[in-house]
Amino acid sequence: MYLLFFGMVLVISLIILLLPYETVYVQDEAYLDTFLIVIVASVIVFFLGTLYNVLLWMEGKGLVGTPEGRLLRLLPRILKFVLSRRFGRILSVFLKDALYLSKLKGRSVLRWATHLLVLGGFAAMFLLDLLVTFSLDFLKYQPMIEDGGWAKLWIRDFGFELVGFMMLVGLTMATVRRFIFKPKILRTELPDATSILFLLAVVLGGFILEGMGIAGRIPGHQANHAYSFFGYALSQLMPGSVGQYYDQAWLVHGVVSALLIAYIPFSKLFHMIATPIAIEADKMLPTGVR
């Protein structure tokens, strides 16, 4: 089991390390190298933390053998389920329940919108990241690379800006609700505050970095600023000299983002993984476990 797990982590780490990163805006390669070390370490911590949590689930009743053995035996069942016809039907239920949060919508449109903006923004940013990395580093897709290319403008500039802005609006609404309005049902302890502030730091950091790139006229930030609407607005508040700190700011943003990934399994943010699994596990686990 561990062989399979570490093999997978190794493959992911190697992909991260071996990508060419030719189109990264940072000038000094030392910053890129530092970031790569941190992100690989964070990804390893993320997977280890997630595995540990899953193995803790496997300590529960209804299955026989060691937690590792139980998990290993469940994997083929899960794979079989994923490849079955039922999966398609359940996927639509999953999208409705776990992503669209249908139940929350019925109870409070405002809270539903808040959560959907954060979760939807996060999921969309992850997908955009995969798409852009693949287009840039594997396909070398020119419209995604050139400063005025349609994909650069609509996906890298506007796309990221939009989903980041969705998250920012959602997180602001959540912050105001939690720390200013303080409704009785909310309980704010360190894990709650850390998670929301961590996410805010990542999202705001991204916009500040974009603003610095535009204000400092960093390559890749010079055409059609309207596409990066919020970063451009922020750039208006910054002097051109901020460009000289772009590399450092890029590293800080990268490191904070990487640490957020590492933090997920040990925080309340782990519900992003556990909740969809718990919703669907009923249908996947063998009878007797339930």
Binding site: G60, K61, G62, L186, A278
Partner: protein
């Protein structure tokens, strides 16, 4: 020194997932009848219980515990959690509102099983009931030989077969409360009369009927409940009816949902509200006599949120001439619990009454004259609060209304 090493192998795999899946949103806290509405104690609320238990087992099994050693959890802290966990009626309101779709009903039952396995439960108040079930086969400390006494009153009026000796189409599973509690006995009598009116070929297991085991299951005692279930399933097999009808919502949930985990029940298991509704639809039962009154129906948790039976009782009420049905503000999946379930009435009677008084107020606000339900436990609880409050409401079992409407 660790005051107690918790054995998490009694927690379901799914429950462990669900503890991690809780988003701490608190949606469950405000509508929780015992935690939020009656007491405002976080640890009694679903979120409070989840977070506390997760904190405890992670302190002993989490990554930090594995790296730095398990953390101490004092006996007092564990006892506090255990006591608070039993202040829950397992009404399932939290399941209704949880945006993460957590099946909290399963979680609470499993949590109690875990507490029992770890020597932290059941509560002393539940011990006498458990002993009574072990010794007498019912929680009311009544002799087994008295179980079928209720039927003597109508033996000339209605033909009730002894299902252990005679073949019958329908087996009426009476349940302990209706069989033994003199204040609830009319529930069994009215059910039998209604079945008789529809010319149903039915019988009971008489004195051989055992407790369904619901009380044991809801307090976390799975093994003795399993034994009761097996005995009853054996009796069902011998009687081999096509349908098993229960008038108790708790028995219905237990036989329908829990027995299949222990053995096969070949008969179709239905609640009396489903059965009577079918009889009305098929024309076998005619409700012709007027029963005047403004009636509101209280959804028993075991019937509603646990089994999603909401329409049947309402359809029956609408079939009774003269009755005007009004809904309480909180109805169906959102219905407030009566406060008696999950062993709360036994261990925390004041808390149970506080909740049932809220439900009585709900009915009064709806403008009802009659408060009706389909569960002996809810009936008992609400009737006590109506009397205590001096309310003008009249408590009636749904079958009493049906019986009045089909009597000549």
């Amino acid at each position: 020194m660790i005051a107690k090493k918790l054995d998490i192998s009694k927690l379901d795999v799914l429950a462990l997932m669900r503890y991690d899946a809780c988003t701490r949103c608190g949606e469950c806290t405000s509508t929780c009848p015992t935690g939020g509405e009656a007491q405002d104690i976080e640890l009694v609320t679903p979120r409070g219980k989840i977070l506390r238990l997760r904190e405890f087992y992670k302190a002993q099994y989490g990554l930090k515990a594995r790296l730095l050693g398990p953390k101490q959890i004092s006996e007092d802290q564990l006892k506090e959690l255990s006591s608070r966990a039993y202040e829950c009626t397992i009404c399932g309101q939290c399941k209704t509102v949880c945006p993460a779709h957590l099946d909290t009903i399963e979680m609470w039952e499993n949590m109690r099983e875990f507490l029992v396995a770890n020597g932290l439960a059941p509560l002393p108040a539940h011990e006498s009931i458990i002993k009574s079930i072990e010794n007498y086969g019912n929680p009311w400390m009544q002799p087994r030989t008295q179980r079928s006494r209720w039927s003597k009153k109508i033996e000339k009026e209605v033909k009730i077969k002894d299902a252990a000796k005679e073949k019958c189409e329908v087996l009426f599973f009476v349940g302990c409360t209706a069989a033994y509690d003199p204040n609830i006995r009319n529930m069994a009598l009215d059910t039998a009369r209604v079945l008789g009116k529809a010319n149903i070929d039915f019988g009971t297991l008489g004195n051989d009927e055992g407790c369904c085991g619901s009380t044991l299951l809801r307090t976390g005692l799975l093994e003795p409940a399993r034994e009761l279930a097996l005995k009853n399933i054996e009796m069902f097999e011998k009687a081999s009816p096509s349908v098993i009808v229960t008038s108790c919502a708790g028995c219905y949930k237990t036989i329908r949902q829990d027995y299949p985990k222990v053995g096969k029940v070949n008969a179709r298991v239905v609640h009396i509200t489903q059965f009577v509704n079918e009889l009305i639809d098929s024309g076998r039962l005619k409700l012709e006599k007027r029963v005047d009154g403004i009636v509101t129906f209280h959804d028993p948790c075991h019937l509603g949120r646990h089994n999603l039976l909401y329409d049947e009782p309402r359809k029956i009420l609408q079939s009774i001439p003269g009755i005007k049905v009004v809904e309480m503000e909180r109805n169906r999946a959102e219905a407030r619990c009566c406060g008696a379930g999950g062993g709360v009435k036994t261990a925390f009677p004041d808390l149970a009454q506080k909740i049932s008084l809220l439900r009585v107020e709900d009915a009064e606000k709806a403008g009802a004259e009659i408060l009706t339900t389909s569960c002996p436990f809810c009936y008992q609880s609400l009737k006590t609060s109506i009397d205590a409050k001096g309310s003008k409401l009249k408590m009636m079992d749904l079958m009493e209304l049906v019986r009045q409407s089909c009597s000549p």
